[in-house]
């Protein structure tokens, strides 16, 4: 009996509890990834879903934090959070927790606040007013309210009770949107083109024909400005009169109304439609209201162009360097040292590359270019200041080790037999590289490039030094000559997050926007990385089953 017991004891493998402990390490790591992605998705996706507007009635005796709100708070529910009261009773017993409700009340112009807080215990009733409107405005953000009338330019007024009202409001809003696009086109494109031509002429003053051209440009400008002025007057001529939930009567020029919904009357399909519509707007519109409203198209575009430029720079250089190291350089101590050095450059902090980019590209190369080619514009720097080209080059320098290492690895993995086969058929060294080695290592190069792009797209610290801005007036590629403007400053998704989350005047109001941007950036980076991982896996399998 006892020997059996002993045997059982010894059969229990030694150290099993420690194995469990190590399992915990993995679980914690995976939970961290899942938790982080979960937080971003949970906060980022609901930003686009149309919320219902809730009306909270507070208990008698408790006044609303909304100015003039009586005992009611109307708005969108943001969150409920538990507020702990740290004060202990005399016997050391903790006080009961309180639940606090945060409501987005909008109407910043009327209330001067965006959010109102109320304790759960103070709430007597909760309802959803069916006929409330949610107006998205050009300025001051969202307004909640009840429309009362539309005042037309001819002085007549159509009350909200009229059966024509909904149709009229929809028509007027559409017209206003069209006019806004027209104004934008006139002011940004046409007047912008005139302005840039004027700057050029001013620089080259003294030539004979400039006076005539200046006059014609001025005439054009006057005509366009007048056109824009008329449109603006039309935008302001029709006015929507609405009452805030607190009973104030406010007016809103129809030109300032971007969109409106009746959130409490939406059906599920309508909500889903709006959800998609919001996502679309987010991806394609330009930011408004210090970047807290509107979309992030310029940031997406800036990130895209910068990453593209970086890839164009990084691939040829990285591949040439890798071919040199692997195929041409004499494999000795020196090359081994260089290889280690290049490898380690990938681990040098990105900010160091930013510092180098600022010192070398911007202040040294950029200033020299300005001195040679843009002398007439000085002291206003053209290339001697941060810009998308310098940012791309800086990131290219930062990621070139990644590409070199990946390419080298891929080339090393090309079986010796393939090379020798090619050489023995009479191919020259370059022909072998060109026709055999490079095609075989293409997936590896691609992996390196994708990893470099993922790193470049997500990097912010060096960009802050070499040309990223919170709001760029124009895109780096547009319709005005020479179409690609390498010297322009640009917007970037990562910097957008930093700027919105930290430099924004109203960071609470910017929160949804930041989470949405974060979601997009994470999605981009994760997709790129997954692609790289998949290609690598495929690559491994291909050579694992290779007959050589």
């Amino acid at each position: 009996m006892s020997s059996d017991h002993d045997l059982k004891k010894t059969m229990a493998a030694k150290g099993e509890p420690f194995v469990w402990l190590t399992a915990m390490g993995l679980s914690v790591g995976l939970l961290m990834v899942a938790g982080l992605l979960g937080i971003i998705i949970a906060n980022g996706v609901p930003v686009f879903w149309p919320d219902r507007v809730v009306q909270l009635t507070l208990k008698p005796g408790i006044s609303s934090p909304v100015p003039g709100g009586g005992s009611e708070i109307v708005g969108e529910l943001v969150q409920k959070r538990v507020k702990r009261i740290p004060i202990l009773g005399a016997d050391g017993s903790p006080a009961a927790d309180q639940t606090e409700i945060q409501v987005f009340v909008g109407n910043k112009d009327a209330y001067a606040i965006n959010f109102a807080f109320a304790n759960q215990v103070d709430i007597a009733a909760e309802s959803f007013p069916p006929d409330i409107y949610r107006f998205e405005r050009l300025e001051y953000g969202i307004a909640f309210g009840y429309p009362r009338a539309i005042k037309l330019p001819d002085g007549s007024s159509i009350p909200a009770t009229s059966p024509d009202f909904p149709r009229l409001l929809a028509e007027l809003t559409n017209e206003a949107t069209d006019r806004r696009h027209q104004i934008e086109f006139i002011e940004k494109r046409e007047i912008g083109a005139i302005n840039s031509r004027l700057t050029e002429l001013r620089v080259k003053k003294g030539t004979t024909d400039t006076a005539a051209e200046l006059a014609s440009l001025d005439a054009d400008y006057q005509r366009l400005a007048a056109e824009a002025r008329t449109l603006r007057q039309q935008q302001a001529a029709t006015v929507l009169v609405y009452g805030t939930p607190t009973g104030l009567e406010r007016t809103l020029a129809i030109g300032d109304l971007v969109a409106y919904t009746q959130p409490n009357l939406l059906t599920l399909p309508q909500q889903a439609g709006l959800f998609l519509h919001n996502i679309w707007n987010f991806l394609t519109l330009e930011p408004r209201e210090a970047n807290t409203e509107g979309g992030i198209f310029p940031a997406i575009f800036g990130t895209f162009v910068m990453t593209l430029l970086m890839s164009l720079a990084v691939v040829p250089f990285g591949v040439v360097a890798a071919i040199y190291l692997r195929e041409y350089a004499h494999q000795g101590f020196f090359v081994r040292c260089v290889r280690i050095a290049v490898n380690n450059l990938a681990g040098v902090p990105s900010i160091v590359f930013g510092v180098f980019g600022l010192g070398f590209f911007v202040y040294f190369v950029g200033a020299s270019i300005d001195g040679w080619f843009f002398n007439e514009y000085l002291p206003t720097p053209t290339f001697g200041t941060g810009g998308i080209f310098w940012a791309a080059l800086t990131l290219a320098l930062m990621t070139v080790p990644v590409v070199i290492v990946a390419t080298e690895e891929a080339m090393a993995a090309v079986p010796r037999g393939m090379r020798e086969g090619s050489l023995s058929c009479g191919a020259s060294k370059w022909q072998t590289i060109q026709r055999i080695v490079l095609p075989a290592s293409l997936p590896g190069i691609l992996t390196g490039l994708i990893l470099a792009m993922a790193r470049g797209a997500g990097e912010v610290a060096p960009l802050m030094l070499v040309g990223v801005v919170k709001l760029a007036p124009s895109l780096p590629i547009d319709g005005s000559f020479p179409f690609v403007h390498l010297e322009r400053k640009f917007m970037h998704l990562g910097f957008h997050i930093y700027d919105l989350g930290f430099q924004s005047p109203d960071s609470e109001a910017a929160k949804p926007m930041v989470f949405a941007t974060t979601l997009l950036l994470i999605a981009l980076v994760v997709v790129l990385n997954l692609a790289a991982i998949l290609i690598r896996e495929k690559l491994r399998k291909k050579y694992a089953t290779g007959a050589f």
Partner: protein, 762 residues
């Protein structure tokens, strides 16, 4: 009969390689060799470029002789210079001014309109650098304040400097008719303090006259006398020299015996605040020369024997009034000094005596430049911009020099040493690059930043290393191989998360969460591993029929829900824990508060910030864990299988094999994983910028922030003037980061290489 060869086979050239092929091959060889070497050189050139940028920080001052001008044989009372250094003046005792053009060497003469005092011999003169004015003391006991009236005009790109001296009306001071032997004044804008030393051989009197100026809304403000004070009795010994700071509220009197008497105007009377002897310990205590250093808080003294010390005003420990104390000591000048002049740009001063000139920087105790001249120096003046120097020798020759010293306040000592800054009560390492006032002195010590970097790295590693290594060990040794293709990419995804996202989450989400729930977090940190160990222990004691329910390599799946449950349970127990363990009682009201945020400062005396090292450590974990995990996992799973199977065959359990065979074999690889993780933590920028307060403090307190080298660059470089000291210092910070990570990574790389070689032989 062999078949005849086909035509093309008889072509002689068929074994010859096509010319184009050869050409392309040769071209590509050159192209790739050249291009590849170029790319690699330029990538490594980063290092050289940054080095070139920081080099001037350590360069000494460059002083070059420009021109020497012979002056007429006269007696000069004073030497002064305009801010451009183009037209110094020399004041004669008869009230005339000689100006010397620095470019042409032309000497011209100007008469100062002294009004009533015209013709009276001038017996004393002093420069007030801050006001750019001169004060003259006459033989009949009056003083006159003179503005040299420099003006600059530009014509055809050539700057010309004109001088047009204007004198204020002479004012009588102290004993009427007794010659003034030394005079000085300070002007704060609202009050002006003129101090004069009079002596006629028998009588000596030290008088201070105070003038108040009411700010008029319109036009010129009026100045009126607000009292005259006889200070003679307050000074122990015979007064020798007077210094008045720009604040106009105190006087520093040097006596012939080498004492310094610091008198302060308190209310309506002067009082002796301090009497000290700067060179008390030396055999010859007499003070030969003394001058306020820019800012008028420090005085540099030079003794007869050439010793040179700087005394600054500061609050001594426990004291409530600022007194002078020795803050800087310089190597002595070999000859007896005759003059000591300061600049208006920085804390530099020039000490001269015999043939020696020595340009010194008080803050950093450094001699910027020192040289022996072939003539005996008598006086000197430095231009307001600290770029020109004029030296008068005893043969009445004026020598011009150009000073090139753009980074006088930098150097090894300033960047890495403890520095006694003005106003501080002890030497400190300090980083403060910008300040509010004009005479603010930037402080560029990299030590707090390096400290902050190490602090952030340490907390990140403390959190990340256990998780990463445990996970790597489990994944490589125990995990069911089917899961590996999922687990590894998932962890790698973590590595690719942009750091701006991590920083943003840290600041917006994690920091407020942790701030309210520190006890919960403590419980989780302690409790989760405990739960894991207990479960493991209990599990291993269960009979085999239960144990086989979970196949080996599946433990982590069991853990996911268990950990979630245990974690959330512990998390919600936090407030209870807080109510028990972290209670602060308000001594005034007796109110008990269970709040860790209040408890921590009360219990440890250290501060509690919302954005602290704990948050940074946690968030940096996201960046560091996957890196350590991936590399360590590679090293562990590359351990040759024969070793493992042999161990197993000898009867070792999987844990024993992992611990005794796999871990030691892969230890170099694990170490290199840690090093590379360290490198990443050291250079991490955005997380630190966003999740800490970026305060350059030096304390290990986990609940306070820090400022790291990388965050410092990100915060300050966009605003730093090109090629300024701050700009170069930030480059130096980048260089330190570069070297740190490069060294760490190289060590790691070499270790990994060794390991690979070792595995090859097994």
């Amino acid at each position: 009969m062999p078949t005849p060869l086909p035509d093309h086979a008889r072509d002689e050239s068929r074994f010859q390689t096509a010319k184009t092929t050869l050409f392309v091959d040769r071209f590509m060889t050159v192209f790739i060799k050249f291009g590849g070497a170029l790319v690699i050189t330029s990538v490594l050139g980063i290092f050289v470029f940054i080095l070139l940028q920081i080099w001037p920080l350590f360069a000494p001052a460059r002083v070059t002789a420009l021109k020497s001008v012979n002056l007429p044989e006269r007696k000069f009372a004073l030497l002064g210079m305009d801010e451009w250094g183009a037209k110094p003046f020399l004041l004669e005792t008869n009230g005339r001014m000689l100006t010397v053009d620095a470019d042409s060497g032309a000497v011209s003469e100007v008469e100062i309109p002294l009004g009533e005092a015209q013709g009276t011999p001038i017996t004393a003169a002093a420069l007030n650098k801050r006001e750019q004015k001169i004060i003259l003391g006459t033989a009949d006991g009056r003083f006159v304040i003179v503005a040299p009236g420099y003006s600059s005009s530009e014509q055809n790109g050539v700057q010309s400097i004109a001088i047009n001296p204007k004198a204020e009306p002479p004012v009588a001071i102290g004993l009427p008719g007794v010659p003034i032997v030394d005079v000085a004044y300070g002007d704060s804008g609202t009050s002006k303090l003129v101090v004069a030393l009079q002596s006629d051989g028998e009588k000596t009197q030290l008088t201070a006259s105070l003038f108040k100026r009411k700010r008029a809304l319109m036009g010129r403000s009026k100045e009126e006398a607000a009292g005259s004070f006889d200070l003679t009795a307050l000074v122990p010994g015979r007064p020798d020299k007077i210094l008045v700071p720009g604040t106009g509220d105190s006087v520093v009197v040097l006596t012939e015996s080498g004492s310094v008497c610091y008198l302060a105007l308190v209310g309506e009377a002067f009082e002796v605040r301090q009497v000290f002897k700067p060179f008390e310990d030396l055999p010859e205590a007499h003070i030969n020369a003394a001058a306020f250093i820019f800012g008028d808080v420090s005085i540099s003294f030079a003794s007869d024997s050439g010793a040179n010390r700087v005394f600054s005003l500061y609050y001594p420990p426990g004291g409530s009034k600022r007194t002078f104390g020795l803050t800087h000591e310089f190597p002595p000048l070999e000859v007896s000094p005759v003059f000591l002049v300061s600049t208006l740009r920085n804390k530099a001063f020039l000490l001269g005596g015999g043939g020696d000139l020595s340009l010194r920087y008080s803050t950093t105790d450094s001699i910027r430049w020192q040289e022996r001249m072939p003539y005996r120096v008598a006086n000197a003046v430095i231009s307001g911009k600290y770029h020109r120097l004029a030296v008068l020798d005893e043969e009445n020759r004026l020598h011009f020099f150009a000073i090139h010293d753009p980074h006088a306040d930098s150097g090894w000592k300033a960047l890495f040493g403890k520095i006694w800054y003005e106003g501080a009560s002890e030497p400190k390492w300090e980083w403060q690059s910008t300040g509010g006032s004009d005479d603010f002195e930037p402080k560029y010590s990299l030590v707090p930043l390096i400290f902050g970097t190490l602090k952030g790295t340490l907390y990140a590693m403390v959190f990340a290393v256990p998780i990463a290594l445990l996970a790597a060990l489990y994944t490589s040794q125990f995990l069911d191989p089917r899961f590996r293709s999922v687990v590894k990419p998932t962890m790698e995804i973590m590595a690719s998360l942009p750091s701006v996202v991590l920083g943003f989450l840290a600041a917006i989400y994690v920091a407020p969460l942790i701030e309210r729930q520190v006890p919960s977090l403590l419980l989780c940190v302690a409790g989760v591993p405990l739960v894991a160990a207990v479960i493991g222990f209990v599990w291993s004691r269960l009979p085999i029929r239960f144990r086989k329910l979970i196949p080996p390599g599946w433990e982590w799946i069991v853990f996911l829900p268990v950990l979630l449950c245990a974690g959330s349970l512990l998390w919600s127990l936090g407030p209870l824990f807080e109510a028990v363990a972290f209670v602060v009682t308000d001594p005034a009201t007796g109110q008990k508060t269970a709040d860790f945020r209040a408890w921590w400062p009360a219990a440890t005396g250290a501060s509690f910030d919302q954005r602290n090292s704990l948050v940074v450590g946690f968030m940096m974990g996201f960046a560091v864990i996957p890196i350590i995990f991936t590399i360590a996992e590679d090293a562990l799973s590359n351990v040759p299988t024969p070793l493992i199977t042999a161990s197993m065959a000898c009867g070792a359990s999987r844990w024993q094999t992992a611990l005794r065979v796999v871990l030691p074999t892969a230890s170099a690889g694990i170490f290199s994983a840690l090093m590379i993780g360290l490198g990443r933590a050291v250079g991490e920028t955005m997380i630190v910028v966003m999740a800490t307060g970026n305060t350059p403090i030096m304390e290990w307190n986990i609940f306070s922030g820090m400022r790291t080298l990388s965050a410092n660059i990100a915060v300050e470089l966009p605003e730093a003037p090109h090629h300024g000291t701050l700009y170069r210092t930030l480059f130096l910070g980048a260089m330190v980061l570069f070297l740190l990570t490069f060294a760490v990574n190289t060590v790691a790389e070499i270790l990994r290489h060794r390991l690979r070689e070792r595995f090859k032989t097994i």
